[in-house]
Amino acid sequence: MTSEEAQIVWFTAWVSALSTVVIVPPGLGVAWLLARHRWPGKTLVETLISLPLVMPPVATGLILLKLLGRHGAIGSFLHNTLDFDLVFTWRAVLVSLGVMSFPLLVRSARVAFEEVNPRLEQIARTLGAGNSRVFCTITLPLALRGVIGGTVLAFARALGEFGATIMVAGNIPGKTSTLSLAIFQSVQLGQDAHAFRLLAVSVALAFAAVWCSECLLRHKRAPA
Protein backbone atom coordinates (compact mmCIF):
# COMPACT_ATOMS: atom_id res chain seq x y z
CA MET A 1 0.00 0.00 0.00
CA THR A 2 1.38 3.40 -0.97
CA SER A 3 1.59 6.31 1.46
CA GLU A 4 -1.16 8.04 -0.46
CA GLU A 5 -3.44 5.00 -0.05
CA ALA A 6 -2.57 4.76 3.64
CA GLN A 7 -3.49 8.43 4.07
CA ILE A 8 -6.86 7.83 2.39
CA VAL A 9 -7.57 4.80 4.60
CA TRP A 10 -6.52 6.66 7.74
CA PHE A 11 -8.55 9.77 6.83
CA THR A 12 -11.65 7.69 6.03
CA ALA A 13 -11.39 5.71 9.27
CA TRP A 14 -10.91 8.66 11.59
CA VAL A 15 -13.42 11.00 9.96
CA SER A 16 -16.00 8.17 10.02
CA ALA A 17 -15.22 7.49 13.67
CA LEU A 18 -15.39 11.19 14.54
CA SER A 19 -18.70 11.65 12.72
CA THR A 20 -20.08 8.66 14.64
CA VAL A 21 -18.87 10.10 17.95
CA VAL A 22 -20.45 13.46 17.09
CA ILE A 23 -23.86 12.02 16.20
CA VAL A 24 -24.16 9.62 19.16
CA PRO A 25 -25.27 12.16 21.85
CA PRO A 26 -27.94 13.91 19.73
CA GLY A 27 -28.88 10.58 18.13
CA LEU A 28 -29.54 8.96 21.50
CA GLY A 29 -31.44 12.04 22.66
CA VAL A 30 -33.71 12.04 19.59
CA ALA A 31 -34.15 8.25 19.76
CA TRP A 32 -35.17 8.48 23.42
CA LEU A 33 -37.63 11.30 22.72
CA LEU A 34 -39.17 9.30 19.86
CA ALA A 35 -39.33 6.12 21.93
CA ARG A 36 -40.66 7.53 25.17
CA HIS A 37 -42.70 10.64 24.45
CA ARG A 38 -45.54 11.93 22.35
CA TRP A 39 -45.24 15.47 21.16
CA PRO A 40 -46.64 17.66 18.39
CA GLY A 41 -44.68 17.28 15.17
CA LYS A 42 -43.23 13.91 16.16
CA THR A 43 -44.20 12.27 12.86
CA LEU A 44 -42.68 15.15 10.91
CA VAL A 45 -39.39 14.81 12.80
CA GLU A 46 -39.40 11.03 12.30
CA THR A 47 -39.90 11.52 8.57
CA LEU A 48 -37.21 14.20 8.26
CA ILE A 49 -34.70 12.04 10.13
CA SER A 50 -35.39 9.06 7.87
CA LEU A 51 -35.21 11.06 4.63
CA PRO A 52 -31.45 10.54 4.03
CA LEU A 53 -32.08 6.79 4.09
CA VAL A 54 -34.47 6.90 1.15
CA MET A 55 -33.38 9.98 -0.81
CA PRO A 56 -30.59 9.71 -3.39
CA PRO A 57 -27.40 10.56 -1.46
CA VAL A 58 -26.45 13.03 -4.18
CA ALA A 59 -29.72 14.89 -3.56
CA THR A 60 -28.97 15.03 0.17
CA GLY A 61 -25.51 16.30 -0.74
CA LEU A 62 -26.99 19.00 -2.93
CA ILE A 63 -29.24 20.16 -0.08
CA LEU A 64 -26.20 20.28 2.22
CA LEU A 65 -24.22 22.18 -0.40
CA LYS A 66 -26.96 24.77 -0.73
CA LEU A 67 -27.28 25.12 3.04
CA LEU A 68 -23.58 25.12 3.88
CA GLY A 69 -22.16 26.99 0.88
CA ARG A 70 -21.08 30.62 1.25
CA HIS A 71 -24.46 31.76 -0.04
CA GLY A 72 -26.47 29.20 1.91
CA ALA A 73 -28.45 29.90 5.08
CA ILE A 74 -25.92 28.27 7.40
CA GLY A 75 -22.79 28.75 5.29
CA SER A 76 -23.26 32.51 4.89
CA PHE A 77 -23.74 32.89 8.65
CA LEU A 78 -20.56 30.91 9.34
CA HIS A 79 -18.62 32.85 6.70
CA ASN A 80 -19.82 36.32 7.69
CA THR A 81 -19.73 36.00 11.46
CA LEU A 82 -16.96 33.48 12.10
CA ASP A 83 -14.99 33.74 8.85
CA PHE A 84 -15.37 30.00 8.63
CA ASP A 85 -15.93 27.99 5.44
CA LEU A 86 -17.26 24.49 5.51
CA VAL A 87 -17.74 23.17 1.99
CA PHE A 88 -14.84 21.42 0.24
CA THR A 89 -13.03 20.90 3.56
CA TRP A 90 -12.66 17.84 5.78
CA ARG A 91 -15.39 19.34 7.98
CA ALA A 92 -17.82 19.03 5.08
CA VAL A 93 -16.90 15.34 4.88
CA LEU A 94 -17.64 15.09 8.60
CA VAL A 95 -21.05 16.75 8.18
CA SER A 96 -22.08 14.63 5.20
CA LEU A 97 -21.06 11.40 6.92
CA GLY A 98 -22.93 12.44 10.06
CA VAL A 99 -26.11 13.37 8.17
CA MET A 100 -26.12 10.15 6.17
CA SER A 101 -25.50 7.83 9.11
CA PHE A 102 -27.69 9.65 11.68
CA PRO A 103 -30.95 7.86 10.68
CA LEU A 104 -29.39 4.41 11.13
CA LEU A 105 -28.26 5.24 14.64
CA VAL A 106 -31.60 6.81 15.61
CA ARG A 107 -33.68 3.93 14.26
CA SER A 108 -31.62 1.26 16.01
CA ALA A 109 -31.43 3.16 19.30
CA ARG A 110 -35.14 3.94 19.19
CA VAL A 111 -36.06 0.27 18.85
CA ALA A 112 -33.63 -0.58 21.67
CA PHE A 113 -35.17 2.06 23.96
CA GLU A 114 -38.70 0.92 23.12
CA GLU A 115 -37.80 -2.61 24.19
CA VAL A 116 -36.89 -1.45 27.71
CA ASN A 117 -39.83 -2.07 30.04
CA PRO A 118 -41.07 1.41 31.09
CA ARG A 119 -42.15 -0.07 34.42
CA LEU A 120 -38.47 -0.45 35.36
CA GLU A 121 -37.90 3.27 34.74
CA GLN A 122 -40.99 4.15 36.77
CA ILE A 123 -39.90 2.02 39.71
CA ALA A 124 -36.43 3.61 39.57
CA ARG A 125 -38.17 6.98 39.98
CA THR A 126 -40.06 5.75 43.04
CA LEU A 127 -36.64 4.83 44.45
CA GLY A 128 -35.54 8.45 44.22
CA ALA A 129 -33.86 8.55 40.79
CA GLY A 130 -34.20 11.61 38.57
CA ASN A 131 -34.46 11.51 34.77
CA SER A 132 -30.73 11.53 34.06
CA ARG A 133 -30.01 8.80 36.62
CA VAL A 134 -32.86 6.66 35.27
CA PHE A 135 -31.48 7.07 31.74
CA CYS A 136 -27.87 6.33 32.68
CA THR A 137 -28.50 3.46 35.09
CA ILE A 138 -31.62 1.74 33.71
CA THR A 139 -32.58 2.74 30.16
CA LEU A 140 -29.14 2.94 28.55
CA PRO A 141 -27.64 -0.22 30.09
CA LEU A 142 -30.72 -2.24 29.12
CA ALA A 143 -30.69 -0.82 25.59
CA LEU A 144 -26.91 -0.88 25.27
CA ARG A 145 -26.53 -3.74 22.83
CA GLY A 146 -29.02 -2.21 20.42
CA VAL A 147 -27.39 1.18 20.81
CA ILE A 148 -23.93 -0.24 20.15
CA GLY A 149 -25.27 -2.18 17.18
CA GLY A 150 -26.76 1.02 15.76
CA THR A 151 -23.55 2.92 16.39
CA VAL A 152 -21.49 0.30 14.54
CA LEU A 153 -23.94 0.36 11.63
CA ALA A 154 -23.72 4.16 11.52
CA PHE A 155 -19.92 3.90 11.45
CA ALA A 156 -20.08 1.33 8.63
CA ARG A 157 -22.45 3.58 6.69
CA ALA A 158 -20.06 6.49 7.14
CA LEU A 159 -17.15 4.40 5.84
CA GLY A 160 -18.96 3.78 2.57
CA GLU A 161 -20.55 7.20 2.04
CA PHE A 162 -20.11 8.59 -1.47
CA GLY A 163 -22.88 10.67 -3.04
CA ALA A 164 -23.44 13.33 -0.42
CA THR A 165 -19.74 13.64 0.31
CA ILE A 166 -18.69 14.29 -3.27
CA MET A 167 -21.33 17.00 -3.60
CA VAL A 168 -20.46 18.91 -0.46
CA ALA A 169 -16.74 18.16 -0.02
CA GLY A 170 -15.55 17.23 -3.51
CA ASN A 171 -12.71 14.78 -3.97
CA ILE A 172 -9.57 16.73 -3.13
CA PRO A 173 -6.56 14.40 -2.77
CA GLY A 174 -4.99 14.62 0.66
CA LYS A 175 -7.87 16.80 1.92
CA THR A 176 -11.33 15.33 1.37
CA SER A 177 -10.66 12.12 -0.50
CA THR A 178 -12.25 9.10 1.21
CA LEU A 179 -12.06 5.42 0.28
CA SER A 180 -15.24 5.48 -1.82
CA LEU A 181 -14.23 8.64 -3.65
CA ALA A 182 -10.70 7.36 -4.27
CA ILE A 183 -11.97 4.01 -5.60
CA PHE A 184 -14.31 5.82 -7.98
CA GLN A 185 -11.54 8.12 -9.19
CA SER A 186 -9.07 5.24 -9.64
CA VAL A 187 -11.54 3.30 -11.78
CA GLN A 188 -12.22 6.40 -13.84
CA LEU A 189 -8.48 6.81 -14.45
CA GLY A 190 -7.95 3.10 -15.18
CA GLN A 191 -5.76 2.57 -12.09
CA ASP A 192 -7.20 -0.86 -11.36
CA ALA A 193 -4.48 -2.06 -8.95
CA HIS A 194 -4.88 1.07 -6.85
CA ALA A 195 -8.68 0.66 -6.89
CA PHE A 196 -8.53 -3.02 -5.88
CA ARG A 197 -6.19 -2.36 -2.95
CA LEU A 198 -8.55 0.31 -1.65
CA LEU A 199 -11.49 -1.98 -2.34
CA ALA A 200 -9.90 -4.73 -0.21
CA VAL A 201 -9.39 -2.33 2.69
CA SER A 202 -12.92 -1.01 2.29
CA VAL A 203 -14.43 -4.51 2.32
CA ALA A 204 -12.34 -5.48 5.38
CA LEU A 205 -13.41 -2.41 7.35
CA ALA A 206 -17.09 -2.75 6.44
CA PHE A 207 -17.04 -6.51 7.12
CA ALA A 208 -15.50 -6.00 10.56
CA ALA A 209 -18.03 -3.29 11.47
CA VAL A 210 -21.11 -5.26 10.35
CA TRP A 211 -19.72 -8.46 11.93
CA CYS A 212 -19.43 -6.67 15.28
CA SER A 213 -22.95 -5.31 14.92
CA GLU A 214 -24.40 -8.74 14.06
CA CYS A 215 -22.60 -10.38 16.98
CA LEU A 216 -24.02 -7.81 19.39
CA LEU A 217 -27.55 -8.07 18.02
CA ARG A 218 -27.45 -11.89 18.06
CA HIS A 219 -26.27 -11.83 21.66
CA LYS A 220 -29.14 -9.49 22.46
CA ARG A 221 -31.71 -11.85 20.94
CA ALA A 222 -30.34 -14.88 22.78
CA PRO A 223 -32.46 -16.01 25.77
CA ALA A 224 -31.18 -14.94 29.19
Binding site: L120, Q122, I123, A124, R125, T126, G128, G130, L142
Partner: protein, 227 residues
Protein backbone atom coordinates in the same frame (compact mmCIF):
# COMPACT_ATOMS: atom_id res chain seq x y z
CA UNK B 1 -51.15 7.74 59.18
CA UNK B 2 -53.83 9.72 57.50
CA UNK B 3 -54.20 9.69 53.78
CA UNK B 4 -56.61 11.74 51.76
CA UNK B 5 -57.63 10.80 48.23
CA UNK B 6 -60.06 13.54 47.30
CA UNK B 7 -61.72 14.61 44.06
CA UNK B 8 -59.90 11.91 42.12
CA UNK B 9 -60.92 11.87 38.47
CA UNK B 10 -58.68 9.64 36.37
CA UNK B 11 -60.05 8.69 32.95
CA UNK B 12 -59.05 5.23 31.71
CA UNK B 13 -59.92 3.52 28.42
CA UNK B 14 -63.27 2.02 29.52
CA UNK B 15 -64.23 4.00 32.60
CA UNK B 16 -63.07 6.73 34.92
CA UNK B 17 -61.52 6.17 38.32
CA UNK B 18 -63.36 8.42 40.74
CA UNK B 19 -62.50 8.39 44.43
CA UNK B 20 -63.11 10.48 47.50
CA UNK B 21 -61.82 8.67 50.58
CA UNK B 22 -59.94 9.23 53.79
CA UNK B 23 -57.73 6.38 54.96
CA UNK B 24 -56.50 6.02 58.52
CA UNK B 25 -55.83 2.29 58.85
CA UNK B 26 -52.26 1.03 58.80
CA UNK B 27 -52.83 -1.62 56.15
CA UNK B 28 -55.64 -0.93 53.74
CA UNK B 29 -56.67 -3.33 51.02
CA UNK B 30 -57.89 -1.98 47.71
CA UNK B 31 -59.96 -4.96 46.75
CA UNK B 32 -61.66 -5.68 43.48
CA UNK B 33 -61.67 -7.68 40.27
CA UNK B 34 -58.98 -7.35 37.63
CA UNK B 35 -59.42 -4.23 35.54
CA UNK B 36 -61.23 -2.30 38.27
CA UNK B 37 -58.65 0.51 38.23
CA UNK B 38 -56.71 -0.54 41.35
CA UNK B 39 -53.23 -0.38 39.80
CA UNK B 40 -54.05 2.93 38.12
CA UNK B 41 -54.98 4.32 41.53
CA UNK B 42 -51.64 3.15 42.99
CA UNK B 43 -49.80 4.69 40.02
CA UNK B 44 -51.60 7.94 40.71
CA UNK B 45 -50.58 7.91 44.37
CA UNK B 46 -46.97 7.16 43.36
CA UNK B 47 -47.00 10.05 40.88
CA UNK B 48 -46.62 7.79 37.85
CA UNK B 49 -49.89 8.97 36.32
CA UNK B 50 -51.55 12.34 36.03
CA UNK B 51 -55.25 12.65 36.85
CA UNK B 52 -57.68 15.15 35.42
CA UNK B 53 -58.36 16.14 38.98
CA UNK B 54 -56.84 14.93 42.26
CA UNK B 55 -55.98 15.93 45.79
CA UNK B 56 -53.64 13.48 47.50
CA UNK B 57 -52.32 14.16 50.96
CA UNK B 58 -50.20 11.91 53.15
CA UNK B 59 -50.28 13.09 56.77
CA UNK B 60 -49.48 16.81 56.49
CA UNK B 61 -47.81 16.58 53.11
CA UNK B 62 -49.75 17.41 49.95
CA UNK B 63 -48.46 15.19 47.13
CA UNK B 64 -50.89 16.22 44.42
CA UNK B 65 -53.33 19.09 44.20
CA UNK B 66 -54.35 19.68 40.63
CA UNK B 67 -56.46 22.69 41.62
CA UNK B 68 -53.34 24.49 42.86
CA UNK B 69 -50.97 22.94 40.32
CA UNK B 70 -49.09 20.93 42.96
CA UNK B 71 -47.48 17.72 41.64
CA UNK B 72 -44.66 16.34 43.76
CA UNK B 73 -42.25 14.46 41.47
CA UNK B 74 -42.28 10.70 41.92
CA UNK B 75 -38.68 10.64 43.12
CA UNK B 76 -39.50 12.99 46.01
CA UNK B 77 -42.70 11.31 47.21
CA UNK B 78 -40.90 8.82 49.45
CA UNK B 79 -43.30 6.08 48.46
CA UNK B 80 -42.10 2.49 48.11
CA UNK B 81 -43.78 0.62 45.28
CA UNK B 82 -43.75 -3.13 44.67
CA UNK B 83 -45.51 -3.62 41.32
CA UNK B 84 -47.25 -6.79 40.26
CA UNK B 85 -44.37 -7.83 37.98
CA UNK B 86 -41.86 -6.84 40.73
CA UNK B 87 -39.75 -4.89 38.19
CA UNK B 88 -36.39 -5.99 39.56
CA UNK B 89 -33.65 -4.47 37.41
CA UNK B 90 -32.44 -7.44 35.34
CA UNK B 91 -28.97 -6.04 34.62
CA UNK B 92 -28.14 -5.54 38.30
CA UNK B 93 -27.38 -8.08 41.00
CA UNK B 94 -29.70 -8.37 43.98
CA UNK B 95 -27.29 -6.11 45.88
CA UNK B 96 -27.40 -3.58 43.03
CA UNK B 97 -31.20 -3.63 43.17
CA UNK B 98 -31.28 -3.24 46.93
CA UNK B 99 -28.81 -0.37 46.98
CA UNK B 100 -30.45 1.49 44.07
CA UNK B 101 -32.76 3.54 46.25
CA UNK B 102 -31.04 2.89 49.57
CA UNK B 103 -31.00 6.02 51.70
CA UNK B 104 -29.34 6.85 54.96
CA UNK B 105 -31.60 5.24 57.54
CA UNK B 106 -33.72 8.04 59.04
CA UNK B 107 -34.64 5.84 61.98
CA UNK B 108 -32.09 5.96 64.85
CA UNK B 109 -32.86 2.35 65.76
CA UNK B 110 -31.66 1.17 62.35
CA UNK B 111 -35.11 -0.01 61.31
CA UNK B 112 -34.49 0.69 57.61
CA UNK B 113 -30.81 -0.24 57.65
CA UNK B 114 -29.51 -2.62 54.99
CA UNK B 115 -28.65 -5.24 57.61
CA UNK B 116 -32.03 -5.11 59.33
CA UNK B 117 -34.02 -5.24 56.10
CA UNK B 118 -32.15 -8.21 54.64
CA UNK B 119 -32.33 -9.95 57.99
CA UNK B 120 -36.08 -9.37 58.25
CA UNK B 121 -36.69 -10.73 54.77
CA UNK B 122 -34.01 -13.43 55.09
CA UNK B 123 -32.28 -12.58 51.82
CA UNK B 124 -28.70 -12.33 53.11
CA UNK B 125 -27.66 -15.35 51.04
CA UNK B 126 -29.15 -13.88 47.85
CA UNK B 127 -27.48 -10.47 47.66
CA UNK B 128 -24.60 -11.47 45.37
CA UNK B 129 -26.84 -13.36 42.95
CA UNK B 130 -28.29 -12.12 39.68
CA UNK B 131 -32.03 -11.55 39.70
CA UNK B 132 -32.51 -14.06 36.86
CA UNK B 133 -31.31 -16.79 39.22
CA UNK B 134 -33.94 -16.14 41.90
CA UNK B 135 -37.10 -18.15 42.46
CA UNK B 136 -40.49 -16.43 42.48
CA UNK B 137 -40.57 -16.14 46.26
CA UNK B 138 -36.99 -14.85 46.41
CA UNK B 139 -37.75 -12.20 43.79
CA UNK B 140 -40.77 -11.18 45.84
CA UNK B 141 -38.68 -10.69 48.98
CA UNK B 142 -35.92 -8.86 47.08
CA UNK B 143 -38.48 -6.48 45.61
CA UNK B 144 -40.01 -5.85 49.04
CA UNK B 145 -36.55 -5.25 50.51
CA UNK B 146 -35.65 -2.80 47.72
CA UNK B 147 -38.78 -0.78 48.43
CA UNK B 148 -38.16 -0.79 52.19
CA UNK B 149 -34.54 0.32 51.81
CA UNK B 150 -35.70 3.56 50.23
CA UNK B 151 -37.08 4.43 53.72
CA UNK B 152 -40.58 5.11 52.42
CA UNK B 153 -43.38 6.88 54.27
CA UNK B 154 -45.96 4.73 52.48
CA UNK B 155 -45.72 1.30 50.87
CA UNK B 156 -47.75 0.40 47.80
CA UNK B 157 -48.09 -3.32 47.16
CA UNK B 158 -49.76 -4.26 43.89
CA UNK B 159 -51.05 -7.85 44.09
CA UNK B 160 -47.74 -9.02 45.51
CA UNK B 161 -48.83 -12.66 45.75
CA UNK B 162 -50.83 -13.01 42.55
CA UNK B 163 -48.05 -14.69 40.58
CA UNK B 164 -47.24 -17.23 43.30
CA UNK B 165 -48.75 -20.65 43.83
CA UNK B 166 -50.59 -21.32 47.09
CA UNK B 167 -47.54 -22.96 48.72
CA UNK B 168 -45.33 -19.96 47.98
CA UNK B 169 -48.09 -17.61 49.13
CA UNK B 170 -48.05 -19.33 52.49
CA UNK B 171 -44.29 -18.74 52.65
CA UNK B 172 -44.46 -15.04 51.76
CA UNK B 173 -47.40 -14.00 53.93
CA UNK B 174 -45.39 -14.24 57.18
CA UNK B 175 -42.82 -11.84 55.67
CA UNK B 176 -45.59 -9.37 54.79
CA UNK B 177 -46.90 -9.66 58.36
CA UNK B 178 -43.37 -9.05 59.63
CA UNK B 179 -43.10 -5.90 57.51
CA UNK B 180 -46.49 -4.76 58.78
CA UNK B 181 -45.63 -5.37 62.43
CA UNK B 182 -41.96 -4.34 62.54
CA UNK B 183 -41.86 -1.35 60.23
CA UNK B 184 -45.30 0.01 61.16
CA UNK B 185 -45.54 1.54 57.72
CA UNK B 186 -48.86 2.54 56.21
CA UNK B 187 -49.54 0.16 53.34
CA UNK B 188 -51.96 0.27 50.43
CA UNK B 189 -52.39 -3.36 49.42
CA UNK B 190 -54.03 -4.09 46.09
CA UNK B 191 -55.55 -7.55 45.83
CA UNK B 192 -58.46 -9.51 44.44
CA UNK B 193 -57.99 -12.27 46.99
CA UNK B 194 -60.25 -12.08 50.05
CA UNK B 195 -57.97 -14.43 52.00
CA UNK B 196 -54.96 -12.15 51.58
CA UNK B 197 -56.96 -9.08 52.50
CA UNK B 198 -58.28 -10.81 55.62
CA UNK B 199 -54.83 -12.05 56.63
CA UNK B 200 -53.00 -8.77 56.28
CA UNK B 201 -55.28 -5.77 56.23
CA UNK B 202 -57.11 -3.69 58.83
CA UNK B 203 -59.61 -2.26 56.42
CA UNK B 204 -60.86 -3.08 52.95
CA UNK B 205 -61.98 -0.66 50.25
CA UNK B 206 -63.91 -2.47 47.53
CA UNK B 207 -63.38 -1.03 44.05
CA UNK B 208 -65.50 -1.77 41.01
CA UNK B 209 -65.05 -0.03 37.67
CA UNK B 210 -63.09 2.78 39.21
CA UNK B 211 -65.32 3.53 42.19
CA UNK B 212 -65.16 2.53 45.82
CA UNK B 213 -68.49 0.83 46.40
CA UNK B 214 -68.01 -0.50 49.95
CA UNK B 215 -65.57 -0.28 52.82
CA UNK B 216 -65.22 -2.10 56.10
CA UNK B 217 -63.23 -4.49 58.25
CA UNK B 218 -62.21 -7.70 56.44
CA UNK B 219 -64.35 -9.80 58.78
CA UNK B 220 -67.40 -7.66 58.04
CA UNK B 221 -66.95 -7.96 54.29
CA UNK B 222 -65.60 -11.48 53.89
CA UNK B 223 -66.51 -13.33 57.06
CA UNK B 224 -63.66 -15.52 58.31
CA UNK B 225 -61.74 -16.31 55.12
CA UNK B 226 -58.27 -15.60 56.48
CA UNK B 227 -55.46 -17.65 54.90
Amino acid sequence: MKMLLKNIVLPLADFTVEADVEIESQVTAVFGPSGAGKTSLLDLVAGLRRARSAFIQLDERVLTDTARGVETPTRRREIGYVPQDLALFPHLSVRGNLLYGCKKDPNPSGLFSFEHVIQTLEIGSLVERGVANLSGGEKQRASLARALLSSPRLLLLDEPLSSLDSKLKQQIIPYLKKIRDEFRLPILYVTHDAGEASALCDEVLVMERGRFVRRGKPAELFGSSEL
